[in-house]
């Protein structure tokens, strides 16, 4: 099937573009910056709409509460900083002020996953999916490339109610999804059809899963690839259909295995249609400094690791 990457570009760029576009479409959109505005690509919005962008300093808890107040007053606030601080330092504010009040606000978690690289463990968001998806009313989004991050951001702002968390990465990664794709929150995206196993991936590992399908094809294994840009609400029907048709599943995420995307898939499968599942992700440990590709190899998050997991899943059928 060999998908083609148009260029290497960070998914955060798509977030920044989507936010600026949403700002042009909707005057209610307001940005909150926490000192790293350019790092998270919010500068595109801040430069175009200075009267709707507020510098809040290095004070993430306050940013979430202010976002709640803006939403209560009819604005659509978007707050972004590194995923670690956006979700975990602020967890109580997100739980009570945003989720319990069920307010339409967007939290952008930048530099997600281990591929942040040299900054090391403190800045690698590996628990954000788990803590965000457990909160009632929260929508959790994890687009796979810059093109999809742009559409995802627009959808979270315009086509969603309540709070949403969008996760995106720092590194330049292949931009490969269709520029004319329709993006629907809550719908998994079929990227490759197959019969022997389904590779279910989210974020940057979707590209790796596509490469894994090519590796498996060389061995005569037919792998299906499903992209989950939405982790909550999870697309139950797509998961169950895939389990029925291929009877083996691999999940892949740049995140802890416990409580994350793989767990969300497993929850659906054990209650509806149990099949062998193998999970690719971080196994209960902190990351470290290194080049992104060095870390992806060490922590077993590459296409080869996904292909090997697929073989194990198929053997367990």
């Amino acid at each position: 099937m060999a998908l083609v990457a148009r260029e290497l570009i960070p998914s955060r760029t798509g977030f920044g573009k989507g936010l600026a576009e949403a700002g042009a479409l909707n005057p209610k959109v307001v940005g909150l910056g926490a000192d790293i505005t350019a790092s998270v690509s919010m500068n595109l919005f801040a430069e175009r709409f200075p009267e709707r962008f507020f510098s809040m300093g290095i004070a993430e808890q306050n940013c979430v509460g202010v976002a709640a107040g803006l939403a209560l007053a009819g604005k659509i606030p978007v707050f972004s900083t590194y995923g670690v601080f956006a979700t975990i330092r602020t967890l109580d504010q997100i739980r009570i002020s945003l989720c319990y009040n069920n307010l339409h606000a967007i939290i952008g978690g930048a530099h997600a996953g281990i591929s942040v690289g040299p900054d090391g463990a403190t800045h690698q968001a590996l628990e954000d999916i788990a803590v965000m998806r457990v909160l009632p009313n929260m929508t959790v989004l994890s687009p796979c490339d810059a093109t999809q991050a742009r559409l995802c951001t627009l959808a979270a702002i315009e086509n969603n109610d309540g709070p949403a968390y969008i996760r995106f990465g720092r590194e330049a990664v292949p931009d490969f999804t269709d520029e004319n794709q329709t993006f629907e929150i809550g719908k998994a995206q079929l990227l490759a059809k197959g019969t022997d196993v389904t590779l279910m991936a989210t974020g940057h590992l979707v590209w790796e899963a596509c490469q894994a399908a090519d590796i498996l094809a060389l061995q005569g294994i037919s792998a299906q690839v499903l992209n989950f840009h939405t982790i909550k609400p999870i697309d139950k029907a797509a998961i169950i259909d895939a389990a029925k048709s291929t009877r083996a599943v691999v999940t892949a995420e740049e995140h802890q295995l416990m409580g994350g995307f793989g767990s969300a898939i497993a929850e659906v499968l054990v209650m509806n249609y149990p099949v062998p599942v193998e999970m690719v992700g971080i196994n209960d440990m902190f990351g470290e400094s290194g080049k992104p590709h060095e870390l992806m190899l060490k922590y077993k998050l590459t296409a080869v690791d996904i292909a090997m997991a697929a073989e194990r899943a198929i053997q367990r059928k």
Partner: protein
């Protein structure tokens, strides 16, 4: 603002009604926070029956003043004040904290009680929310005032000071924070548990117009609110010294009544005391 003696005695009478309702609703509930609720009754009466522009029959009126209760645990005084202002039937106060009641232990917007601006109960968050509403009002050039109510113990939460910094930075002179300075928290006196003084100097150094007042004196409260309202260029904070349990001498200034509900016999006695001291 009409601060005549007739007006003031009217507000005092409202505060008395609120206090009685606080005692009876907490007694019916069997649990809840009595001390702080009684201490804040005068401030709530001044807000709902004098200072605030609001429409109890149209709680979502777009230009209303917004009252953000950051300390959700004193929900009984908010509920009592809202009920007496006409937001919902006074009898409903007796459903406080009960299964399927609109009067949750801490205010919850999802339960449909009119007049609840924010679901809150985790301390230290309400000032940030008030900052967000105040920013939006400035953007939309609305003339409404945003009033947030805080406990003194709550000021030990670091997020309060993040919010305080941001309100001054963005020059939110449409924001009035009221600190219930009763010197009590669950473990004891605030200055023993975690000292807050010099409290006014802290707020001043954060760039706030800072007013000190007796929060159980109606005319002082009204005057301070007016001063805060007319002050330009900075947010205002009212450090309102109150007595926890105000109105019932047996429990005044006793932190053991922070989180306690009276028995029925105690409630009868407390209401007698209230009437005696009227």
């Amino acid at each position: 603002m009409n601060n005549t003696s007739v007006h003031i005695s009217e507000i005092k009478a409202r505060a008395m009604e609120i206090r009685k309702s606080v005692i009876s609703s907490l007694t019916a509930a069997g649990s809840g926070h009595l001390g702080g609720s009684l201490g804040l009754a005068d401030i709530f009466a001044c807000l709902h029956f004098s200072f605030m522009s609001h429409k109890p029959d149209n709680p979502n009126w777009i230009d209303r003043d917004r009252l953000i209760l950051s300390i959700g645990h004193v929900a009984p005084v908010l509920y009592a004040s809202l009920a007496h202002a006409g937001y919902f039937p006074i009898e409903e106060l007796n459903t406080l904290r009960k299964f399927e009641s609109r009067l949750q232990g801490h205010p919850g917007r999802d339960h449909g009680l009119p007049g609840i601006e924010l679901s809150a109960g985790s301390l230290g968050q309400g000032l940030s929310v008030a900052v967000g509403i105040a920013l939006a009002s400035k953007m939309d050039q609305r003339k409404n005032r945003i009033i947030s109510i805080h406990g003194d113990g709550e000021l030990q939460e670091g997020s309060i000071w993040e919010a305080a910094m941001s309100a001054a930075h963005h020059k939110l002179d449409n924001l009035i924070a009221i600190v219930d300075r009763n010197f009590c928290q669950i473990d004891g006196r605030t200055e023993d548990v975690m000292a807050l003084e010099p409290l006014a100097a802290k707020w001043e150094s954060f760039g706030w117009n800072t007013l000190k007042l007796n929060g159980n004196n109606v005319s002082e409260i009204l005057q301070a609110l007016d001063e805060a309202d007319s002050f330009q260029g900075k947010p205002s904070v009212l450090i309102a010294k109150t007595l926890m349990g105000k109105g019932v001498p047996e429990i005044e200034d006793d932190y053991k009544w922070h989180g306690k509900a009276p028995s029925e016999a105690e409630a009868r006695l407390f209401i007698q005391e209230l009437e005696k001291n009227q």
